[in-house]
Amino acid sequence: MKKEITLRLNGYETTVAVEPHEKLLDVLRDKLGVKSPKYGCGRGECGACSVLLNGKSVRTCIMYAVEADGQEIVTVEGLEQDGLTPLQKSFLSHNSFQCGFCAPGIIISATELLISNPHPGEEEIREAIAGNLCRCTGYGSVVDAIVDLTRRE
């Protein structure tokens, strides 16, 4: 039995019909064409599917789409609507990512951190992205980019 839900997605009101069992990740990717959240584990373990829900990061692979009804969702596509954010610019200039698959999730987690704490220490940064698994980088180049940005600002 489908239910119509309304989201404020990346600044625009969007209505979509979903099955009760459909995960928010699948609805975003397959029905709304928002591809930045990725499937990595389906159990909320890797963080690749993260989006901002009312400003807080959530794992969309373990959240039902109907639970998001009436709420605000921001993905990387929404963050960059006015050009690259300072965080993205810092990641770019530091060559922070390798395969890039975890990048959208890490951008979301780091964005969430910087909203509440614009000048975090290195350990706070590591704690904030500890739920985002990256198999390529060893995290050093990711942490460096965030540290560098917060020191510059």
Partner: protein
């Protein structure tokens, strides 16, 4: 070209794929929309690790509304494999591991496919289950492949029908027994490295469309587009020209997406439903169970030395559990058999490297291709022998480290190596010889060291090719089929083209593979593409440059020898004012005074294949051929802190140095060192696939199988590049991608021994094992 002259190569730059990845516009296989006609597949896996199939009944599943096709072994009789054709699309008469694919349903939704899958009835008769490679060698062990003698195999692998041995590589040099008799000290012991998984964050994804005109198009997450095309064309009986493999970005490979895997199932499903794309996206559990794992290794090491610290003999027997299929893993066993001395000069060597079938998931390539596993034993052993001789382990390594001109175990001369410089640089960065102490009395610190060598493991005739297309504005598209896995391949190839053509990097695009458009590449594996494809790109750029110079020479009546390319222009060494921008003519030609044109579109072409390698060796000794192109060498060390009560290990500092020959992307080489180290850290401290007695994986997820997080990585990482040029590499470059992971397990084992006086011989070196070993040590001293 003198190093000082290089303008792009060797200089740091923003990655060519950086913007796409930072903006989340980079497309991975699952991001490609295939339209409303797309169908979904569900795959039925075996519940048994070893059983004969008595019957398959798919009739109920076929009746479910929305089901388009049901496939099983009957539909796909062929065998497939890269080197040894011992695997099937679907198990037909026998299943050999839990999860082995037995049937598939293609349906209009995933829910329907999953539901229909539950209606397939299969009758199994269980067989004895083998999970230990040593047990599998026993004469009375059940045979996992009774038809082994009938399988097609490359001539340099030696399956032994009537046993569970898929391959045995022997290497014999000198006289080991005599050397042991003359040795002053001998140490022998066993080391055990368990199965681990690649765990790329992107799981395997494959989508296929078989059109009514007979064309098969696939969108795959793979390291091997051309190898897949070759295998698929052969298995599915299609012409190569009619198979097209498109490869978007890959979300992590590490060898797990090398060769062919579930893509062959996606293709077989698509061929049953012409006109409909079919997509398979593996779940994380599938990724653990149904892709390749890293081999388990049980290794026996016996080393003999003289009192002055000279290694005189090594006997190294490697018993590899390659799982239920050795189609790719047999080459891991082969490659490590040749190189299992480690990076040492040893005059008398006896190596047996066995590929042994068990009822565990098939194993294959994994970053390091077996070298991580055998280096654990060798480098642990080296520390123990040094200690017995009262020698410093770093000095002992320096004394025995292999040098240019030394003869390796299979009789070939070692090429240029910066190994001694790597040792010195790492020792300096880790402050070897300086003790450091924790302020906390419950914590102790230790340092550990390891050497590394590794050669690319490839068929002797592996090859790469490149096209360079000029555009109207003198920007270029570089067409290659190496895969950007994150290592920086695109940027390296772009830099080589830019360097040779005198272009800024901003004018260069490097295209992801599409077998219709991009020329041949064997595979992106073995840390060989910088070297092999780099040579092909360099040749393509030189070819394009020669065309440019020729047309300008003809049109402007200038001697070719005086023309050169710089800053996007053709310049002349004898006419300082001459500077013809490339965009004036690289497509439309140069206009002559009579109105006619000379030239035309500039299109560079380059191919590369090593012409000095040969896999033809004596099976009894491993001698007589030239199986490897070169070795990359290096060293790694750690400083760790251990909580004596909990056994928890933290790496405070790491240092690794590798001889890259020439780092095309220095900052990205450092990225490989950091990333490889942390991947190695996982295997050293936490990672292990755990099986129950029925052969089922107990931890197929990231809660129960821990990979390192940002909190686990060391805060202090010293990534050091040494450059002793590889004579046949582009600008002297050789690969470093895999090597960075190899020293970690033994360096940490050696550091634990250094800190606590306990020797752990079976990673992962978990807190539990450390506490247990400390308890046993205390009991012994009572």
């Amino acid at each position: 070209m003198k190093e000082l002259d290089l303008k792009v190569v060797g200089h740091d730059a923003v990655r060519l794929d950086g913007l796409e990845k930072i903006t989340a516009t980079a497309k991975y296989a699952d991001d490609i929309d295939l339209g409303p006609g797309m169908l979904y597949a569900a795959i039925l896996g075996s519940p048994y690790a070893h059983a004969t199939i008595k019957g398959i009944d798919t009739s109920d599943a076929e009746q479910v509304p929305g089901v388009h096709a049901v496939l099983s072994g009957e539909d796909c009789p062929g065998r497939c494999g890269l080197y040894l054709k011992d695997s099937q699309l679907f198990a037909k008469d026998r299943v050999r591991y839990v999860g082995q694919q037995v049937a598939a349903v293609v349906a209009s939704s995933q829910e329907i496919a999953d539901k229909a899958l539950g209606l397939i009835k299969i009758e199994y008769e269980p067989l004895p289950v083998l999970q230990d490679p040593i047990e599998a060698l026993k004469p009375d062990a059940v045979l996992i492949h009774p038809d082994l003698g009938d399988y097609e195999v490359v001539p340099w692998l030696y399956p032994q029908p009537g046993t569970n041995i898929a391959h045995l590589r022997k290497v014999r040099k000198g006289n080991v027994e005599k050397a042991f008799e003359e040795a002053d000290y001998i140490l022998e012991d066993w080391y055990h490295v368990p199965h681990v998984v690649h765990a790329p964050i992107e799981t395997h994804v494959s989508a296929a469309l078989y059109a009514f005109d007979g064309r098969l198009t696939m969108w795959n997450s793979t390291q091997s587009p051309h190898t897949q095309r070759n295998i698929l064309a052969n298995v599915l009986n299609l012409k190569h020209k009619d198979v097209r493999i498109v490869t978007p970005y890959v979300g992590g490979g590490f060898g797990g997406k090398a060769g062919v895997n579930m893509e062959v199932i996606a293709a077989a499903c698509a061929m049953k439903v012409p006109g409909h794309p079919v997509k398979i996206r593996y779940s994380r559990k599938d990724e653990f169970q149904n892709t390749s794992q890293r081999q388990e290794l049980k290794a026996y090491v016996k080393m003999g030395v003289k009192n002055d610290g000279t290694i005189v003999a090594l006997k190294h027997q490697l018993f590899w559990d390659v799982g239920a299929s050795a189609e790719y893993g047999s080459n891991v066993v082969n490659a490590t058999g040749f190189s299992a001395t480690g990076a040492y000069r040893i005059p008398n060597v006896w190596i047996d490297s066995y590929a042994i079938y068990t009822n565990r998931p098939p194993c294959g390539a994994y970053r390091g291709f077996g070298y991580s596993e055998f280096h654990f034993g060798i480098e642990s052993h080296i520390d123990r022998v040094a200690k017995a001789l009262n020698m410093d382990p770093v000095e002992f390594r320096k004394k025995n480290a292999i040098q240019e001109g030394d003869t390796v175990a299979y009789g070939v001369e070692m090429g240029p190596t910066g190994i001694l410089k790597c040792i010195d640089e790492v020792a300096k960065a880790i402050e070897w010889g300086t003790e450091s102490k924790s302020d906390d009395p419950n914590r102790v610190r230790g340092k550990g060291f390891a050497l590394v060598w590794k050669a690319p493991a490839m068929p002797a005739n592996e090859s790469s090719a490149a096209f360079i297309k000029f555009n109207e504005d003198a920007s270029i598209n570089v067409l290659v089929s190496g895969m950007e896995l994150g290592q920086g391949f695109m940027t390296a190839m772009g830099k080589i083209a830019a360097e040779e053509l005198g272009l800024p990097l901003e004018r260069v695009r490097v295209e992801l593979p599409d077998t219709d458009r991009n020329p041949y590449e064997w595979q992106t594996v073995a840390s060989h593409v910088t070297w092999s494809c780099g040579n092909a790109v360099r040749r393509a750029a030189i070819d394009a440059r020669n065309q440019i110079i020729k047309v300008v020479s003809t049109a402007h009546h200038i001697e070719e020898a005086s023309l050169y390319l710089e800053d996007g222009k053709v310049k002349c060494s004898t006419k300082p004012d001459f500077a013809l921008p490339l965009e004036k003519f690289v497509i439309n030609g140069v206009q002559m005074s009579d109105g006619t044109f000379r030239g035309g579109p500039i299109l560079g072409r380059g191919s590369f294949m090593p012409e000095f390698t040969s896999a033809k060796v004596d099976p009894e000794t491993g001698m007589g051929g030239h199986p490897n192109v070169h070795y990359t060498t290096g060293a790694g060390a750690v400083e760790i802190e251990i909580d004596k009560e909990t056994g928890r290990v933290r790496v405070l500092r790491m240092a690794e140095a590798f001889d890259a020959g020439k780092a095309i992307n220095p900052d990205l080489v450092k990225g490989q060192i950091e990333g490889g180290f942390v991947q190695g850290l996982g295997t050293a401290l936490w990672e292990e696939v755990i099986f129950d007695e029925q052969g089922r994986i107990r931890n197929p997820n990231f809660t129960d199988y821990k990979i390192p997080t940002s909190l686990d990585a060391p805060r202090e990482m010293h990534s050091i590049i040494v450059e002793v040029p590889q004579p046949d590499g582009p600008y002297g470059a050789r690969g470093v991608g895999e090597h960075t992971m190899i020293p970690v397990m033994p360096a940490i084992a050696n550091a634990i021994e250094n800190a606590l006086g306990i020797r752990i011989k079976n990673p992962p070196m978990t807190a539990e094992k450390i506490v247990q070993a400390l308890k046993e040590k205390a009991e012994r001293s009572l």
